[in-house]
Symmetry: C2
Subunit: 250 residues, 2 copies
């Protein structure tokens, strides 16, 4: 018996950003499941069978996560080799947790998570080296988390002098959230603290903004923006955002 569901991270978006393992598993899969935007990021050769016909795709929109996972598990239980495709890493705000928690309904299916480069890492690489030391990753989405809990995490992260990465800063239904987060952080951090935004990492329209925490309040952001706020050792240098780890000439 070999019924397997792979939860596959494809990295930031461009095909070269996925791991060799992710590519091999997508090639070998005969059913692909995922949010349509992510499936469309895949190169055509991974979406086609060897004979050139398109692979079966299980597509469903945002907020249909439970349905999408069940359909993927159910296709695996029928004997298909199924990959559930996530952008970035499936274990960071991705589908890996939900799929594993629904597994008990499909005890015959084995689940394997294939990690990928999450936006914190791919965004950091574009900026220079902001995450070179201890950091905290926080989502500003209050769809599944109370805003008070998000605020408490922001405050602790600033007080602990973590480099801070924010995911999902804003969306159509959540405008003004980045400014709210900045103004909360400014109760702990100085206005000049280096900050950066990376939009659409590895995709068409990729763009970087760097400045200060105070200036960032007025910047536009959306679901495809990743936010970086430096720690007390972070500086902007020749257009790069670099956190000093503390190496000293001996």
């Amino acid at each position: 018996m070999d019924k397997k569901l792979y939860i596959v991270g494809i990295g930031p978006g461009k095909p070269e950003g996925m791991t060799i393992e992710a590519k091999r598993i997508l090639e070998e899969s005969d059913v692909l499941a995922g949010y349509p935007v992510y499936l469309e990021l895949l190169p055509q050769e991974l979406r086609s069978r060897r004979d050139g016909t398109p692979k079966q795709e299980i597509r469903s929109g945002m907020t249909k996560e439970i349905e999408r996972c069940r359909l993927a598990l159910s296709a695996a239980a029928e004997g298909h080799k199924v990959s559930l495709v996530c952008s970035g890493d499936p274990g960071v705000y991705g589908m890996a947790g939900l799929a594993l928690s629904l597994k008990q309904e499909f005890p015959e299916v084995e689940i394997r998570v294939i990690p990928g480069v999450t936006a914190a890492l791919s965004g950091a690489a574009l900026l220079g080296a902001p995450l070179i030391h201890d950091f905290a990753v926080i989502s500003l989405s209050d769809r599944l988390t109370p805003w008070e809990k998000i605020e408490a995490r922001l405050k602790h992260a600033a007080e602990a002098d973590f480099v801070i990465v924010l995911y999902n800063p804003e969306s159509k239904g959540r405008s003004g959230y980045l400014a709210r987060a900045c103004s909360l952080l400014l109760t702990v951090l100085e206005p000049e603290r280096p900050a950066a935004l990376v939009h659409k990492i590895g995709r068409e329209g990729e763009a970087v903004w760097t400045g200060t925490l105070e200036e960032m309040q007025d910047q536009p952001a959306d679901m495809f923006t990743t936010v970086f706020i430096g720690n007390s050792n972070t500086a902007l240098l020749d257009g790069s955002m670099i956190t000093d780890r503390g190496y000293r000439e001996k």
Copy 2:
């Protein structure tokens, strides 16, 4: 003029864990620099020129980071295509920050950071989905950071209910550090809090331990161990460590 130094993350260790981009850049490089253990993780074909002869390698030990970066920058300035190889992601406790900060000595060299799957992500994928929600990454190494700062970060991370990932828990010269961190965390978290260790991710000897925070105090750890401590929504289920993101049936 095209003088480039690539700082390349090769992921957890097995060749399939690197990105397609990382592999291409290593193939195209004629000089490889890095800590010898990392260079030896590379498949032989990436360490050889097209004619089969070995590529030039700049090897230097731990604590020789500044020297290694300068030699790599200097080889790039001479016109070689140079890759400085890091395990995991070069931007997370890696060489990207140091190389960028030394760049001013070699103004003609352009630096590009190629991200990789860091141990927090590859370890999480082996465990299930512990990082599915907000998390903090902390190194226990006090070689470059005062221990008091590490303690403050541990405490804030626990109070903020982050999932916590610890890098570099112990080393030959730093024994007992994991137990110290656990006992500090136990002043905030309950003894039954799910916890896990992953040893040698993607390498020979890969091993996983799961249990409670209290039990973890007595577990062995070293430089090749990555540590996971759940948040208040993390559970161990059928051998997997899963953090609930809060999806509910509607």
